[in-house]
Amino acid sequence: MSQQVLWEVVKGNNAFLVKRNGLTLSTDPFNNTGVQTYGNTGFISQNAVGVVPTSGKTNQINNINLVARKSTKFQQVDRKSKNTQSVYASTLAVKHGVHTASRVIRKRFGTSRLGLQKAALRKLVNLNRSNAVRRRNEVAAAKAQKK
């Protein structure tokens, strides 16, 4: 379904839309800037990538997941894929550092949507940094406990 047509349906009202303090924001997982605009709204596009912090306890060092929007001809889950799949996205867990993740983002957006690419990379970096801080604190706490 064309992104333009979907935008016309969805721009006025959608589940991710948050209007507060005169700002039009979005909680869309595929939106890396948080502001709802046509280009940013990833869930209506075919090739968006969302950088999402994972919720709950995971064994990942980084609590980041990459959610890649996918377009299939018939909207089915691809069971053969190793990644967690849903009808609208495949999820890549960012486990050991951000290199694979940044590769995925760069490949997705390539030469065309550099703004989106930058936004995704920026978010990845920021989440990674906050994770580093968290891990540092955890390690320090563990050390303190040992003592």
Binding site: M1, Q4, A15, F43, F74, V87, Y88
Partner: protein, 406 residues
Amino acid sequence: MTSVPLVSVFSADDSTKVTAKHIPLPAVFQTPIRPDIVSFVHTNIAKNRRQAHAVNPQAGMQHSAESWGTGRAVARIPRVSGSGTHRSGQAAFGNQCRKGRMSLPIKVWRRWHRRVNIKQKRHAAASAVAATGIVPLVLARGHRISQVPQIPLVVEDKIESYEKTTDALNFLKRFGAFEDVQKVVSTKVVRAGISKQRGKKYRVRKGPLVVYFNENAKLLKAFRNVPGVEVVNVTRLNLLQLAPGGQLGRFVIWTQSAFAHLDKLFGTYRYASVLKDGYQLLRPLLTNPDLARIINSNQVQEKVQPAKTTTVLHEVQKKNPLRNTKAMDRLNPYARKQRAAAIAAIKANTKGTKKIKKNKALKKASRAAFNKVSAALNDATNAAVQEEQDIKVKYFSVQKGAAQAE
């Protein structure tokens, strides 16, 4: 659409098993998405469930109130007759008055229902059905479909024979629809306002819509008690359920026979509908609305002029003619002559005067004089400082001597 999209039918017991691999999508799912039609039809159809109500026609009017007229230093509003109570002499009847009747009291014969053209209703329904097959729209409506194996979700007819709610629940869990049900349960909220005292205590979200075909299906009872889930027969698809609130993209679970029945119901682009007499599906204004694809298509790119590689803002770097003589000459060719004339004039003015040559001897002499003066100054300063110190020493020694003497 030259290639018809295909859809799989899932086994009711196992969400990984597919009973029918590739069924063509009914043509309804290709209808243009028309939020304008859906919104219009929805706002009107939503009014059809209203029950007439009205204000008591006598409310506020059960007085023999009369205006006191002018000359009594009160407003001319009708006032309650009689005496012996606070109420007497108070204003009555007007909408602005306390205890007065409302302005334009609601009558039972208010036009509660709206009729909508059948064609519009059908187009809206078709559009709403189409929207249930588009993942972003279902997401935008707020359904939780991350675990659902396919949109549109088509399941074999076995679920129509479910009698127990546990079967229904397990089915929903198997197909990832339970997340949506959980959303409904966790967001159940006591309604704000008086309606909670009028039988509408809770505000509950909408979950999945299960669409079946066979009239004897028992699944209605099985799914009845699951919060948020609605069950409806294909032949009685309701826009208020397909697009609740006028918002397209309900999460729908179809049974196989219901899914197959859609072509007969709405017709295809080749044949008009069988069951809706003479109804033909709406055709889109643009068969290919993807702007990016159109622009990048061969047909367009062939005709388009080659892209400009450089955008030239200025031809040449701007030079300031007031400071750059060549730039000035370019603008004003006479400037050259003006400049030459100015130089000549200066020369003419300074013709008689000699140039002052630097005199080394003079320089030396002046330097010597300066040194002499500065030396003298230094000596004087030093002498003064010394004098000061002497006085100081003398003074303190006197003091000391005095102290010692004591």
